[in-house]
């Protein structure tokens, strides 16, 4: 399949130093504030969900050469044009050239506090019993997905152990594709450093991911 995420970075051969930053340094240019606020405000319209936003960002061809707020701004432009809310000509000219589309809701200043403090919980009530229990050995899927997924490449085709059952959550893979929530059981699955990285592992390392049930198969 042709879907390609440029954002799946875990374990990649990137050796640059991590550069610490002071707590108060939130933005590095005024437009970054606007990119954040515009992204949140447009997310609140209900035209797309957070998984669709992640998918739009991770498939930007130049993802790796962009700063994070550039990714957000370009991801937002992509969502806006894909949903035909805005034309590329309007973005280029910086003004409205044709009538607005319909958005389900507009976030008003008076609603920001309640919207943020309410959030968007993904926990759903499950009807099917969980397939796995704490302590079970599981193998993660190794096959390609061909769409947005939250199973990172470094943790594919690996054997881990279920450490926590997190309840039934909106399934990001389906949600990102506009196929509805399709809630699935979610598990914290832990892997030894050796399972993930072989002899290159560091002493005493274990890594966990949060994996939806369709990512997992029983071992034995």
């Amino acid at each position: 399949m042709s879907y390609r995420s440029h954002a799946d970075l875990g374990g990649q051969a990137i050796h640059d130093r991590v550069v610490p930053e002071e707590e108060g340094e939130l933005f590095h240019a005024p437009w970054e504030r606007q990119a954040l606020a515009l992204t949140l405000a447009m997310g609140a319209t209900g035209m797309w969900n957070i998984d669709m936003s992640r998918s739009a960002r991770e498939t930007l061809p130049d993802y790796r050469s962009l700063t994070y707020y550039q990714i957000w701004a370009k991801g937002l432009e992509k969502l806006l044009t894909e949903h035909q809310l805005v034309g590329t000509d309007e973005l280029t000219q910086g003004r409205m050239l044709r009538a607005a589309g319909h958005v389900p809701q507009v976030l008003r200043a008076s609603e920001v506090g309640a919207t943020l403090s309410g959030g968007s919980p993904t926990l759903r009530s499950g009807t099917l019993p969980a397939r796995f229990a704490v302590g079970d050995e599981v193998r993660t899927r190794s096959a390609e997905f061909g769409h947005h997924t939250r199973l990172p490449r470094y943790a594919r085709g690996k054997i881990g152990r279920v450490e926590q059952v997190r309840g039934v959550h909106v399934f990001a893979d389906a949600h990102a594709q506009g196929k509805g929530e399709q809630p699935q059981w979610l598990y914290s699955v832990v892997f030894s450093g050796r399972e993930l990285w072989g002899d290159a592992t560091t002493a005493g390392l274990s890594v966990s991911i949060d994996a939806w049930e369709p990512y997992l198969e029983p071992v034995r």
């Binding site: 994070y68 403090s117 926590q164 990001a172 560091t202």
Partner: protein, 207 residues
Amino acid sequence: MAHDHDQHPEHSELGEMDVRVRALRTVLAQKGYIDPAALDVLIETYETKIGPRNGARVIARAWVDPVFREWLLRDATAAIASLGYTGRQGEHMVAVENTDSRHNVVVCTLCSCYPWPVLGLPPTWYKSAPYRARAVKDPRGVLTDFGVTLPESTEIRVWDSTAEVRYLVVPCRPAGTEGMSEDELASLVTRDSMIGCGMPKAPEAPR
């Protein structure tokens, strides 16, 4: 000029983004998709109300109150909500406690998932390629970049935030803080220590 990359790549890049985002904002406002006043409230909220001092209060409470600590480790979402911190990007919280033998580190290798209600917006390094690439494979090397060296015998658990669960590290309470108030303790809790990339500050020596 906006495309004068050769001479001033950084400045022209910033200027280009400034123009681009300004255009975006204008079009969205003209079309009525956004309320410009809401943008100001959003920015103000994350610049002044929601940040790592929230998380520091959670940690300080856990350090002084064993019942709260137990609640935090059992049901972090509820325990944190009792201090007034809820909502976007913190809907499903899990607190993971450091001990003498185990150190926790939080990352999102796939994007930038981060517990906003308690830590605010993520720092640049948390979203950077080196952190996301290295944290799951070479966490000791990453910690070295923050000036932290752990004994070889310390287990390291990395939590990759691949779904909507958000993780908060409960660092070890520093030695020599026995008589300190909750507020004083909170001032020792750094943002990085709640991600697992730093340690709380040591108390100042008594004068």
